[in-house]
């Protein structure tokens, strides 16, 4: 073998080795995009935990977790092929199915809807729904909270003239100024922050949870396209198992330090005591009962959500829930 050939063999072998490494690597980790419902905060701590603690990689997946937001819609992204899995609330899923979107629910993250109303207990007592009469209630017109509130008012027999609905945005000033008596917040994310601010001013806060008055409206779920579930059941199983393991570990009190560190990575400005409080409340909303596996789909809750949406004319037809709810084995106990 002449010198020229020797010089060529070595780079060729290195190149071959690199190609092999890259191709075997690609086979081992399947690329997956997961679109969150909201920004990276405590409401998606399970996904963040699974990402930062390499739980997806251990399941042989290369998952890109993308932040959500008001302008993002995971269901549309699934159909357009921009995402493989996503988070969506039940009302989004039902609206999408009513319009023919091939979306299915593989797990339900929140067992209790975090969307609740904040109020000052010295100002009002809510023993039953009739106590809402005459109150100024904040709602996001067009949002879930409007549908939930209208349902509660309808069930109590209260009409639009019995309460004043106030249009809510991101600015809490009307609540701070006492112009509005009940203000919708995400109990686990915004709740502790606003409560702490009011506490500094010597004001007490309480939360009005519609579920305690029999109104269940299912919140964030894990969704995918029905074709993905049919054609790649193993991928769906592996992804969901890793995601739910992330939730399980993030909410385990023994892992609190790690979960807080994960949250601080994305939310460095929120004080630690608030993060601890947020995590504690999220634990109660995701797994209110330890016998209930994280990710369990609450079929009764879905039935009620569907019924509420039809009554509120958000849906024009009955939706077959069996075609939507496709629990995949992988729930974390």
């Amino acid at each position: 073998m002449n010198n020229k050939a020797k010089y060529l063999i070595l780079p060729a072998c290195v190149l071959l080795l690199m190609v092999l490494l890259v191709t075997t690597g690609a086979e081992a980790s399947e690329k997956v995009v997961y679109r969150l419902k909201w920004l990276r905060n405590v409401s998606v701590v399970g996904a963040l935990y699974a990402e930062t603690h390499h739980l997806f990689e251990k399941a042989g997946l290369d998952v890109e977790v993308k932040a959500g937001g008001p302008e993002r819609d995971a269901i549309r992204e699934l159909e357009l092929g921009y995402a493989d899995f996503g988070e969506a609330s039940a009302d989004q899923v039902l609206r999408a199915r009513a319009k023919g979107a091939p979306v299915v629910v593989i797990a339900q993250l929140f067992q209790v809807n975090p969307l609740q109303w904040m109020y000052r207990p010295e100002e009002l007592q809510i023993g039953n729904l009739a106590d809402l009469q005459g109150k100024v209630i904040g709602v996001t017109f067009g949002g879930n909270d409007e549908t939930i509130m209208n349902t509660m008012l309808a069930e109590t027999g209260l009409g639009s003239s019995d309460v004043t609905l106030f249009s809510v945005r991101y600015d809490y000033t009307p609540f701070y100024r006492r112009q509005v008596q009940l203000w919708p917040v995400y109990r686990n994310a915004q709740g502790p922050l606003i409560a702490a601010q009011l506490d500094k001013a010597g004001e007490k806060t309480a939360f009005f949870n519609p579920a305690e008055f029999g109104v269940k409206f299912v919140a964030n779920c894990v969704v995918t396209e029905s074709r993905t579930l049919t054609e790649k059941p193993e991928l769906v199983k592996r992804f969901l198992a890793a995601l739910l393991a992330g939730w399980q570990q993030a909410l385990d009190p023994g892992n609190q330090e790690e979960a807080i560190k994960t949250l601080q990575k994305y939310d460095p400005d929120t004080p630690r005591p608030i993060l601890e409080e947020q995590l504690k409340i999220t634990r109660e909303l995701i797994q209110p009962n330890t016998s209930l596996a994280i990710g369990t789909i609450d079929e009764k809750g879905w039935e009620q959500t569907e019924r509420i949406m039809r009554l509120q004319k958000q849906l024009s037809m009955e939706i077959d829930l069996k075609a939507i709810l496709k629990p995949v084995g992988g729930g974390a106990e």
Binding site: P70, E71, D73, I75, R76, E79, L80, Q92, R95, A96, K99, G100, A101, P102, T140, F141, G142, G143, S167, R169, Y170, D171, T173, Q314
Partner: protein, 249 residues
């Protein structure tokens, strides 16, 4: 002028809609991602009344905002046309004010002034006044030497006369800028409504977005587009009438 504007708008809108339908049917997308023609028509029937009223509400705010901004731009432009210290100060202040994005200022305005008519009006005026101001400054700072020289030489030049001469000589340009700024006034009002108001078509678009209803958004875009097309045509006609009355041609 009016039928041509409306016809041109129809061409643009239906080309856009055609593009969306091509995308929908070529990619086999559901009505949730892009609604079909029947769905859009049903939404039009269901929402026509409410959305038309909301668009008219927005338009009324935009028209008042535009008038305000044109007056503001004329005052600032006429004062700032001179190369004096005050003139240059006004120009710098006007440019700096424009440098702040409205989306950042809007929430502060809504906190201070509430989410009523006044805030929407102010946002509309703020968004549309700058292009008008630039044109007014450009027109008013440029002497029309052929005509002005006579008055200067005879010592009869006053600032009112100077403004009149420069306006008259650039009337076509001013009319085009003012008609064009109508679009900005409408866009400004919609932005304001989208961020925080309780009325108008921007507010309805926000609700439609919450409900992931693209059909409603397409109807809103149609009504916004046709309203602007009509308003712009009316402004252009008004400009032509003023020019005819002034020049006698």
């Amino acid at each position: 002028m009016l039928p041509r504007r409306v016809f041109q708008f129809f061409i643009i809108y239906f080309l856009f809609l055609g593009g969306l339908m091509a995308l929908k049917y070529s990619l086999v997308l559901s009505d949730y991602v892009i609604p079909g023609p029947a769905g859009i028509f049903r939404t039009l029937i269901a929402e026509y009344r409410q959305y038309s009223l909301a668009t008219l509400n927005t338009m009324s705010v935009a028209v008042i905002g535009q008038i305000l901004s044109v007056v503001m731009a004329l005052v600032i432009g006429i004062t700032g046309r001179q190369s004096t210290w005050l003139g240059s100060f006004i120009k710098v202040a006007a440019y700096n004010f424009q440098a702040y994005p409205i989306v950042a200022l809007a929430p502060i305005l809504f906190i201070l002034l509430g989410d009523g008519f006044l805030t929407r009006l102010l946002i509309a005026a703020m968004i549309c006044y700058f292009p008008v101001l630039l044109s007014v400054l450009g027109i008013m700072s440029k002497p029309v030497d052929d005509i002005e020289h006579f008055y200067r030489a005879t010592g009869r030049m006053r600032w009112q006369l100077e403004v009149k001469i420069r306006t008259f000589e650039n009337l076509a340009q001013l009319t085009t800028v003012i008609a064009g700024s109508a679009t900005l006034a409408m866009a400004g009002t919609i932005v304001g409504e989208f961020i925080a108001a309780n009325a108008g078509i921007g507010y309805n678009i926000r609700i439609a977005l919450y409900q992931s209803d693209l059909g409603k958004i397409l109807i809103a875009l149609f009504l916004i587009g046709i309203t602007i097309a009509i308003y712009q045509a009316l402004l252009e006609s008004l400009g032509a009438v003023i020019k005819r009355a002034w020049t006698g041609r």
